[in-house]
Subunit: 239 residues, 2 copies
Amino acid sequence: MDTIVQPRKRVQPIINGDYRLQDIPMFKKLSEDEMLRVELNSVVKNYNKRAVIYREGSRHSGLYFVLKGIVKVYKIGGNGKQQILKFAQKGDVIGYRSLLTNELACTSAKAYEETILYHVPQQIVMELFQQNWGFTHETMKFMCKELKESNMFITDIAQKSVRERAAEMLLILKDEFGIDSYNTLQITITREDLANMVGTVTESLIRVMSEFRNEKLLELPGRKIVFRDIAKLKAIANI
Amino acid sequence: MDTIVQPRKRVQPIINGDYRLQDIPMFKKLSEDEMLRVELNSVVKNYNKRAVIYREGSRHSGLYFVLKGIVKVYKIGGNGKQQILKFAQKGDVIGYRSLLTNELACTSAKAYEETILYHVPQQIVMELFQQNWGFTHETMKFMCKELKESNMFITDIAQKSVRERAAEMLLILKDEFGIDSYNTLQITITREDLANMVGTVTESLIRVMSEFRNEKLLELPGRKIVFRDIAKLKAIANI
DNA sequence: CGAACTGTTGAGAGGCTTCAAGCCTAGTGG
DNA sequence: CCACTAGGCTTGAAGCCTCTCAACAGTTCG
């Protein structure tokens, strides 16, 4: 953890067009010196599809920034069923809760497709928090965003029907991952995982999706999801 | 907002045994000078039972620390039904999300009984964040605690039955507000609000409570809730 | 090519909500 | 201080939504 410059260790992302550290809001706040200190002490990690990043109840240190790919963050309920809390993608941060509280992880994280993470060790992050308010503020804002989303989700799941929640979740995925020029959702997700996001069982989710297809709101070729009538979906979602 | 000492404005709480600023974890991290600056610029506010502190969609600035009483924090769903997100009590902070993001409030807060809050204006809080890492860290840890609780609640509400969630919520209230020597819960809460916490309708919550009474797990004299068999409640809650 | 996983539909059961009616209590005003 | 009234509490009945169980089709990947 010394501060001697070690050019060999200089990481690729800063120069690679596909995934640049500068794209991450928190890193924009760092000075050149601070950025160098981060780069000298951080590691780029590659994960295959379905590889576990960390597991509920385990100890892990530092922050993980998503440079590329998608990470599924979830909890296992008492009956062994997954509840998906979010899909983190490029620019998102995971693992900050354990870092700040020194507690064991309360969620699990798994690569949902080929994923590249940037791991910054605990000591470096804590240094940045103490010396760079802009970095800290961005982190706090990110936490606030997640808290707001959690509060909305709690209210929805407690009060809306499966049909309403499914419509809403599809629209959320659309906003987060986008659609192509044919209105095809840009994330491939299994029915089971969709159900685990919505908070229902696979069969119920499939029935609702079939309803949406029959009502010409969606097309469902293979595992793709194509939006046909976003306005009506919004009306159903009640947002 | 000048820094001239104004002894007249020195607030009571610091010396009143009932509610002392020193009891709030974040304030423990402040230097004497910082504490004085806070005191010179903050206001003690009293709220009657049912008084609104802030409303969803409104703008409010600064942090509210609970010195005494209980604050109900909730959201209104699409159908107008309340979802209670938490009961804040002595030592808790509310309103930090709007402060950090400069967005409108995404929840409402109401005094649940006679309540005393300590309001610290935005500028002062932001100064403290920038100059005192201990204060900032405590705030972040508080946010992490709420995020963890949100994640657990999402998983529970998505996967557990009303009966399980009701048992769990009673145990959470017991841990947060305590019981007296007769095992009586130290918060008086209406059935409707209990239902709004659990995420169900009043009638369903009442039916479950009646079951618990018939099974000798609870006694329900008037509006009091007396615990008779905490072990069995834990078994039902599945925790 | 076959095994394992994913997707789909049907039937049935049961948990939860809705609607309705009446009782109880806490707080208010005379 | 007491009567009154509004709001909180409770139970019943009916029906819908969602889950469970089961069977089978389609897909993916070693």
